[in-house]
Symmetry: C2
């Protein structure tokens, strides 16, 4: 069986070419049913239909992905915040899956590079990024089930983007907290930023945070601002006993 | 390992007594972590707290169960209605998980018999049935994961309650369709209803639908009206070529 699967996979890979490889990198696992991902990136303007005359585009997958995101995030919040009541959990989930947040995610992953459509890229609405992100989640569910969907959301949404304290508004910016502390304590600090392409498809920025000539924390992210914030957060927790 | 698990299970079973057995019947599978189900039936009026001071009642589980229901129903609709667009799917899901519908479900399962509270049963709001149903779904997810949650929702919600045609308003009542047809074709018909406790915890009604002295369909449900409707639907599909 696995031999047959490998042959089939290598075929679809050579057929789909770069799409398969890019997808593989993006997902962090081997996609099985390429056609559901193709659908996730097909814009309605192409006007594709299946044999039964049903439209093939990403809109139905958006519905599915939105539901999967909702349940994975709900489960995560339930576990992570044992003292949050129903109202709190509902509010936090809305923040995480807000249109703004999902657009940011889709943009960071540069999902738009995969979209096939009949209209120019700059004529998509602002929500295209979040919409395709949702459709991609729906496609993962159809291709590999809830478990993979859960993992993907964890590594691509929760781990890099969901910080309960920031969402609650308790901490607006770790960077400002850290700078304030350094100034108060008369410590020298420096955010050393450099571009780091690494093995990723996307451009990444890496930051070393120096305090008094020692590297206190390092971080990588898809923007300079995010990498600085991530490094500051790490430093904040590393120095927690010293900061008050 | 399974020996140890059996010993543990039989212990919790003898400890939880009837609750474990009733739950086992209701769920259709062996619950592992009884405490999450106990939580699903604990009303806030009991004012129970854990060691950390966090409230123990079903309200957080409601949030979790609502999210799981949403994604399972979304996935079902996606598969079942390939020609439904995003708007259609969203509307259908809202109907299925409407407060009214969930209250009906919780009531049919008589979930209120498990509730522990400090207030009399008749002082709960009307939504208690749906709320506990959601909490139960949340508890199943915590106890056995998405797969069991999916199965439970399929057998307890989708299979007995979700009929796309009725939801769409295309068919209001299969019983009236069938009676109309019998009258037009001058056929004798009779709904033979009898109480049938079977192996279930809940009282069930069974119906045989006779047309011209032949049993055309049988059905069981928690009310006479539902059993008649179910039998009519089955007869409707059995006779489909003859009914126009």
């Amino acid at each position: 069986m696995s031999v047959i699967r490998n042959i089939l996979n290598s075929r679809s890979s050579s057929k789909g070419g770069n799409f398969f490889d890019s997808l593989h990198k993006l997902l962090g696992f081997r996609p099985k049913n390429i056609s559901v991902y193709e659908r996730a990136f097909t814009h309605r303007s192409l006007n594709v239909k299946d044999k039964e005359g049903n439209a093939i585009n990403y809109e139905r997958l958006e519905f599915l992905g939105d539901a999967m995101l909702g349940s994975v995030i709900a489960s995560h919040l339930y576990m992570e915040v044992p003292d949050g009541d129903e109202g709190y959990l509902t509010k936090m989930r809305s923040k995480i899956v807000s249109r703004k947040h999902l657009n940011e995610l889709g943009k960071d992953m540069n999902l738009i590079r995969f979209v096939k459509s009949n209209i120019p890229n700059d004529q998509f609405g602002v929500n295209i990024h979040g919409n395709i992100f949702e459709a991609l989640v729906g496609a993962i569910y159809l291709d590999r089930g809830y478990k993979y969907c859960n993992k993907f959301i964890y590594y691509r949404v929760i781990e890099p983007y969901v910080d309960i304290e920031t969402l609650e508004g308790r901490v607006i910016s770790y960077k400002s907290l850290l700078i304030e502390w350094c100034q108060k304590k008369k410590k020298e600090f420096n955010y050393q930023v450099y571009e780091d392409t690494g093995n990723d498809e996307l451009k990444h920025f890496a930051v070393k945070l120096w305090i008094d000539k020692k590297v206190i924390a390092k971080a990588r992210a898809t923007s300079k601002k995010k990498a600085e914030e991530k490094a500051s957060k790490r430093a904040y927790y590393a120095l927690q006993n010293k900061i008050d």
